[in-house]
Symmetry: C2
Subunit: 190 residues, 2 copies
């Protein structure tokens, strides 16, 4: 997606240690109309998977998941990272290491909103090592639902996430793919 | 807003201790098209305030803030509850007690995305005691920006948030207002 590539090159900042700062358009500030364009692009890319539900992880996955759900006309569930008191005692819970935070995070979904028979599309902000998305996949499997696709706003090609997720046999799409980052700059896949 | 009232009465569950469970349409699962209707309603209610920016608090404020920003055509900033490594060292930070979590939470905004001269509309999921929203107000004041309105999907009339925020002198709007909750049921303002 051309606009995502331009935003990364114009406003993304490489902070070292594999960290890309895109706070101005994804992780802290969001332009809702651009995020809607992303949702429409995911809808086009996944038009053939017949998703009945979108699953994302709080926090920064929520905006693209909502706009994709809006474009597709399907509900969105966001996995929580701490169990709210409103959740039932029995939940689907998995642990995923967070590269950017350097800690393990919990991903929790209530069985009320992720059910057997659902066709689930995962939408998240980053596809990097793939560990968060693989955590979401485990939640889908635990629920007896079917994973039908994985979409990320930005992919970091060099962190191996696609290789980890490819054996799942579903389409994996990112709106921009970074092949290399260093103090000199950011290089995107054509 | 009639549909919000219906959803609360049909799908909301009172869990005791002043806690309303609305996970099926706000706090865990979201129907994006309904959330878009909420964003359009906030846009109508705040049409005269000329907001240039929407501020919310992660996590459950993000969905209504995004759809309101989409309808209004203004950017959204979500205050973080823990400082990501992508944020600069110098930030606006305030502490707000969370009723539902029983702890104090930090609310953090980067000075990069909340600036002097901005006209800021706060959108959040709940207006209860008002402490989270008052925390967002302090961040706006610290940035030298101007608060122009406060919108919440659901107001709990009996927790005093409106009384706390009214002296700020800006319009306060909620899409449904609960006047009483107990094991017998939920009573909404007409």
């Amino acid at each position: 997606m051309q606009k995502m590539k331009e935003l990364i090159l114009e406003n993304g900042t490489y902070l070292g240690s594999g960290i890309l700062k895109v706070d101005s358009f994804i992780n802290h500030q969001v332009d809702p109309s651009f995020m809607m364009e992303c949702g429409e692009e995911f809808t086009r890319l996944f038009s053939f998977v017949n998703a009945t539900r979108i699953l994302t992880a709080e926090i920064s996955g929520i905006a693209p998941a909502i706009t994709t759900g809006l474009a597709m006309g399907v509900p969105v569930v966001f996995a929580r990272k701490s169990k709210p008191i409103t959740m039932p005692d029995q939940v689907y819970l998995t642990i995923a290491p967070s590269h950017t935070k350097g800690i393990n995070v919990e991903l929790i979904v209530s069985p009320e909103y992720l059910c057997k028979g659902e066709r689930v599309l995962i939408i998240d902000d980053f596809l990097a090592s793939g560990s968060t998305i693989m955590g979401l996949v485990r939640l889908i499997q635990a629920a007896g639902a079917k994973l039908v696709g994985i979409g990320a706003l930005i992919e970091k090609d060099f962190e191996g996430g696609r290789a980890l997720l490819s054996p799942l046999g579903v389409p994996i799409e990112s709106l921009a793919c970074i092949t290399h980052m260093d103090a000199e700059g950011i290089i995107l896949k054509e």
